[in-house]
Every structure is written in structure tokens, then in C-alpha cells.
């Protein structure tokens, strides 16, 4: 494993009396793909939320490329190069596919009021460049979706919405992509297609690391380099899928002890 891109130590998140994440440690190397698994309520999404600044951690430290990013606002975490998808899709349904992708490309766009209002020629140039960028990215996932760039998202099926959300997280060229249960609401075939496209993206963006929260063990087995198993906010096992799947503690967490 290369030097840690992301290093998390002793991360703790509490909601009142409930400790959702307890002294959680985690490392992620460049271009690594790590699966995060565990029963419902074990703290997986809480970890994503603490990492991306939605929840403020009670204790612990998060370092990205050696830089302390603990407790930064979501906007800062995004600017530092961590993007995510949401388990329940958070797309703007009334907006077009292009608009949704551009929300994800925020850090590469100019936001000055004067420029946006009065330097229309320059703005148009920037917009046209981004149309090409968006089309090229979506093309890799689905050529038919790439032809629907100007269509509102509410007109599109679930699989396309997932693709848009993944593309929205990818378009700003992040260092780390966090995927929160991308298979939710999709058939096995659709999930497989999406995962294949994601794997192809990894080939094209060297260095891109991913963390995948997933309940479909087939997906985890196929695409991850390494797995971390959470239960009650603590790591109970870590290693390759085969190793953790054989671990009695993991079996107990999923199936109950008896």
C-alpha cells in the first residue's frame, strides 16, 4: 500500500447519549477501493457524514494528504478533494442533467457576480467548455444519457439518476470518491453495469481512491481491494473480502450469535 491518502484516527461521533461512531480508525491509499460494510445502523453513513463535514466529530482526527481536515465545513472538504454520493439521491430533479453535473463542478466555475452578469462572452465560452466536459464524462457511463444533457432529471429512470449522481461526484476530479450504497433501488444488472463503468473510471483517473458502502456482497467481492466491517460504531474486522467473510465476528454481526 502506498502512503496514506486519508488517515482517520479515533473518530468519534455522538448523538446525545448514542455513540454512533466510536474511536474509528481508517486509512485509504491512493487509487485504493475499500468496501465499508456492516449491518444497518452500524455507523457507515455516519462516517461519511463526519468525513464530509455534515456532522461535527466529538473526537478524533482526519488527515487528507497529511493536512488536518477534521471538522471542516462541507464546502471546504469538497474543495480539498473529497466528493460523495448520497444513499437517498440528492439531485435537483427540476434541473437538467447538465445543471446537476455543474453543481458538482462548482469549484472549477467562476462565481463572481460581475463576471456572471456582464462578461457574457467569457461566461459563454466557459459554459461551452463545460458542456463538452460533461458530455465526455457522461458518455463513458451511457451514450444515450449523454444525448439527454438538457433534459430535466425527473424525466429519467433510476439507473440514469444514479449515473448522474456518480458523474456529479466525479466531474471535479476528486482525490477521494465516497459512494453511499449506489445499488439501492436498482436491479442487479443495473448495479453491475454501473460498477463496471466505475471501474473503468478508475482506470482513467489514476490515483482516484474510493470508499464504497454496500449491502450487496457480490458487488463488494467483485470490486473492492479491501473491506472494513463496522458494527455498533466500531471496526470488527478488516482485510480482503474472503478474510472478513470468513470471520466469525462478522457472521455473528450479520446473522446474530447463537
Amino acid at each position: 500500500m502506498s502512503a496514506a491518502l486519508l488517515a482517520v484516527e479515533g473518530l468519534t461521533v455522538r448523538f446525545g447519549g448514542l455513540t454512533a461512531l466510536n474511536a474509528f480508525g481508517f486509512t485509504l491509499g491512493e487509487s485504493e477501493m475499500v468496501g465499508l460494510i456492516g449491518p444497518n445502523g452500524s455507523g457507515k453513513t455516519t462516517f461519511f457524514n463526519a468525513l464530509t463535514g455534515i456532522y461535527a466529530p466529538a473526537a478524533g482526527r482526519i488527515r487528507l494528504k497529511g493536512r488536518d481536515v477534521t471538522g471542516l465545513a462541507p464546502q471546504r472538504v469538497y474543495a480539498a478533494g473529497i466528493t460523495r454520493t448520497f444513499q437517498r439521491l440528492r439531485l435537483a430533479l427540476q434541473l437538467s442533467v447538465f445543471d446537476n453535473l455543474m453543481i458538482g463542478n462548482h469549484r472549477n466555475l467562476s462565481h463572481g457576480i460581475v463576471g456572471n452578469l456582464f462578461l457574457r462572452g467569457r461566461l459563454r465560452h466557459e459554459i461551452e467548455e463545460n458542456v463538452e466536459k460533461a458530455r465526455a464524462l457522461v458518455e463513458r457511463f451511457s451514450p444515450s444519457l449523454a444525448r439527454r444533457l438538457h433534459q430535466p432529471v425527473w424525466q429519467l429512470p433510476m439507473i440514469d439518476r444514479r449515473r448522474i449522481e456518480v458523474c456529479r461526484a466525479l466531474i471535479s476530479d476528486p482525490a477521494i470518491l465516497l459512494l453511499d450504497e449506489p445499488s439501492a433501488g436498482m436491479t442487479q444488472e443495473e448495479t453491475r453495469a454501473l460498477m463496471d463503468d466505475l471501474m473503468a473510471s478508475r482506470q482513467r483517473s489514476p490515483g482516484l481512491a474510493m470508499v464504497l458502502i454496500e449491502h450487496e456482497m457480490g458487488v463488494i467481492e467483485r470490486v473492492t481491494d479491501r473491506c472494513v466491517v463496522l458494527n455498533y460504531g466500531e471496526t470488527i474486522a478488516e482485510g480482503s473480502y474472503r478474510q472478513v467473510a470468513a470471520d466469525p465476528k462478522v457472521r455473528a454481526a450479520y446473522l446474530g450469535e447463537d
Binding site: I103, N116, L123
Partner: protein
């Protein structure tokens, strides 16, 4: 590949709009006005059924400069036709000022999703600023108008802190409280004239008095409202262009992102607070500007003109027109401002009627008369 929409629907709509507004303002007999109102409703329904409205919007989106020119030409034609009638011009100018203020609300509610139930209060801040500064200072009047807008924005920023800490209904409640507070403050404040209000001097720009009679040749005399009407139309047109440009830019996109999902917006680097502050302040500045010009045109200001009811009327203009569509504000403002003035039967019941109308619209056409269209960053966008 679709062809670029033709320009003629824009011309047709501008001409039809100008004719309707002129007739509306000119007709006297109550039954004629009622008949015209019914005909307009029928024509609007027919146009929707036949897809004319959609073609008109596609046309104006494909030729934005032409559409603006046609609309301005239509407005100027109406102004020219009515040049010697005080009341009609006053109505027309009032519509233009309401359009300006409601474009401000469009920025707030339609784009950023910030509900403002105190639109009339910010309009009133501009109006009272004009009244006080034009009476008690020697500041140039155009500067006073600008100060009216700026003060509205400044006072609005006091509400920002509580508004940014709350969301949805609670933020709305803060603006309701402010609107009521503002009116009560005016009523008990003797310096500001109490319930009787204040007189406001006429506008003077560069030695030219807007209240002086305007002679067109030897015999013809134009109403002194002519200057105000032209200025109000200019303000509305300028505001329209800016709001439209804002929508067709990355800023408009960020505002939409904030409205549709604050959590997702923040996760993608969008500074939610910054854009809410920008939209709320800019909207209030526009309402204040319109209010300041209104005050000097009307000649007096009183608390009764800036009530919670008036704020609701402004919001109903935005909802009727189609939240987030600047174009929709124009017919909605004509309807809400002019109809009760011309049809005396409904004058007393206007709040009741518009409340009913808003309920009907929200029930049967929730996106308003002219629903907002997909963003087109520049003409011919869909071909990219």
C-alpha cells in the same frame, strides 16, 4: 436537430399584451371591463391549449434581445397612447414598479427559495427614505432613490442572522413579524407622520421637474405622470434584464442548488449562506428602489400602503406568474394591480379574490400562469 424558434410569436404576444393593457386602462363601463377580463381568461386558456404560450416562450428565449425590444416597444406604445391621462399612466407606472419589486421577490423565493412575507415593508422602507430625504436634505433625487434601495437592503440584513439560523416556515415567520413590526413602528412614530404619513416632493433630475407639465407642441399637453412612467418602465426593464442574466449564469445555478437541497449544495462546495444573503439583499434593494420611486410619484406615503396584505399581494403576483419565471411576473402584476382599480365591484374584496385565485392556481396549475422553463444559458442552448 431542432430549428431555432421563430420570432413572430414574441411580436404577437407583445402586441396582444399592449392592446389588452391599453383597453383595460381605457375602458370605463364596468360590464365592458368584466367582459374584457373574461375574454382575456378565455384567450389565455385557448393559447395554453393550442400550445401558443409554449411557442411564445420558446420564441422569446431564442431571441432574448428582440423579445426585450418588442416588450419595451409595446410598453412605450401604450405609454404614448395614454400620454394625456393621469390615472391610466399612474396605473401603468405602478404596474412597472410592482414588476420591479416582484422581480426582487423572484430572486428570493423563485431562485434562492427564501420566502419573504415583508415585500411591502421593504417597498415601504424605500418610500419613507425618499419622503424623508427629499424633504429634509438637498441630496440629488436620483441618489435618494438609490439610497432608498440601499437602506431597504441594509435593514433587511438585520433579519439575515435569524433567517440563516432557521429554515423554511421559521424563516418565513421572521419576515412576517418584521412586516408587522414595520407598519406598527410607522403608525406610532410621529416624526414619520404617524398614521397620516408624509408628503413627498416631486422628482427633480438635473433641473428637470417631473411634476411640471409636459408640452408636446403648442396644443398638446402630456400628463405629468409621463416622466414617472418612463422612468418606472426603464427601472423595470433594467431589472428584468439583470434578473434574467443572473438566472442564465453559474450564479443562477447556485441559487437553484441552494433552493432545491441545501445539504447537497454544501457537499458540492456551494456557500449556502452567501447566496441566500445575496438573493435576499438584492431582492430587498429592488423592492426599496421601486418603493422610493413610487413615493415621489404618488406624492405621499402612509403606513396603510405597506401592510401585510400588500406583501401577500406581491407574493401572489410571483406565484400567479409562475415562481422563478420573470416573464410571468408581468401579466400577473397587470392583473393584480389594475383589475381591482378598474372593477370597483371587487375593490373591497380584492384580498379575498386574490387569495381564492392563488388557491385555484396552486390547485390546478401549481407552476403558475407561465411555468418556469429549463435554464437556457444562451440563445440556441439546446443545440449545444
Amino acid at each position: 436537430m431542432t430549428r431555432r424558434a421563430p420570432a413572430w410569436p414574441t411580436v404577437l404576444a407583445a402586441a396582444a399584451g399592449a392592446a389588452t393593457v391599453t383597453l383595460f386602462l381605457r375602458l370605463e363601463a364596468q360590464w365592458e371591463i368584466a367582459l374584457l377580463a373574461l375574454m382575456v381568461v378565455a384567450a389565455a386558456l385557448a393559447a395554453t391549449r393550442l400550445g401558443l404560450l409554449g411557442r411564445f416562450e420558446a420564441s422569446s428565449a431564442a431571441h432574448p434581445r428582440f423579445a426585450l425590444g418588442a416588450t419595451l416597444a409595446a410598453a412605450l406604445a401604450v405609454t404614448a397612447l395614454l400620454h394625456d391621462s393621469h390615472f391610466e399612466l399612474l396605473m401603468l407606472a405602478t404596474v412597472a414598479l410592482y414588476v420591479t419589486a416582484c422581480l426582487g421577490l423572484t430572486l428570493q423565493l423563485g431562485y434562492a427559495g427564501v420566502v419573504n412575507f415583508a415585500g411591502a415593508a421593504f417597498f415601504g422602507i424605500g418610500a419613507y427614505t425618499a419622503a424623508v430625504l427629499m424633504t429634509h436634505s438637498a441630496l440629488p433625487h436620483l441618489l435618494v432613490l438609490a439610497l432608498g434601495g440601499m437602506l431597504a437592503g441594509l435593514i433587511g440584513s438585520v433579519l439575515l442572522l435569524p433567517m440563516l439560523r432557521t429554515r423554511g416556515h421559521y424563516a418565513a415567520l421572521i419576515t412576517i413579524a418584521f412586516g408587522i413590526l414595520f407598519r406598527t413602528f410607522l403608525e406610532v412614530n410621529d416624526t414619520l407622520g404617524g398614521p397620516q404619513g408624509l408628503k413627498v416632493p416631486g422628482l427633480e433630475v438635473g433641473g428637470f421637474s417631473f411634476n411640471a407639465p409636459v408640452f408636446l407642441g403648442a396644443q398638446r399637453e402630456a400628463s405629468f405622470y409621463l416622466g414617472y412612467t418612463l422612468l418606472a418602465l426603464l427601472l423595470a426593464a433594467g431589472t428584468f434584464v439583470l434578473v434574467k442574466r443572473l438566472e442564465r449564469s453559474w450564479v443562477g445555478l447556485s441559487l437553484d442548488a441552494v433552493r432545491s437541497d441545501e445539504t447537497a449544495a454544501a457537499a458540492y462546495g456551494i456557500d449556502v449562506a452567501r447566496w441566500k444573503i445575496m438573493a435576499f439583499t438584492a431582492g430587498n434593494v429592488l423592492a426599496g428602489l421601486a418603493g422610493a420611486l413610487y413615493a415621489t410619484m404618488a406624492g405621499f406615503v402612509a403606513p396603510a400602503s405597506f401592510t401585510f396584505g400588500d406583501s401577500l399581494l406581491m407574493l401572489s403576483i410571483v406565484l400567479l406568474g409562475g415562481s422563478g419565471n420573470p416573464l410571468g411576473v408581468i401579466p400577473a402584476a397587470v392583473l393584480v394591480v389594475v383589475l381591482p382599480e378598474k372593477l370597483q365591484v371587487i375593490q373591497e374584496y380584492r384580498l379575498l379574490l386574490f387569495a381564492l385565485l392563488v388557491i385555484l392556481i396552486l390547485r390546478f396549475r401549481p407552476d403558475g400562469l407561465l411555468p418556469r422553463r429549463m435554464r437556457e444559458y444562451f440563445p440556441g442552448w439546446r443545440q449545444t
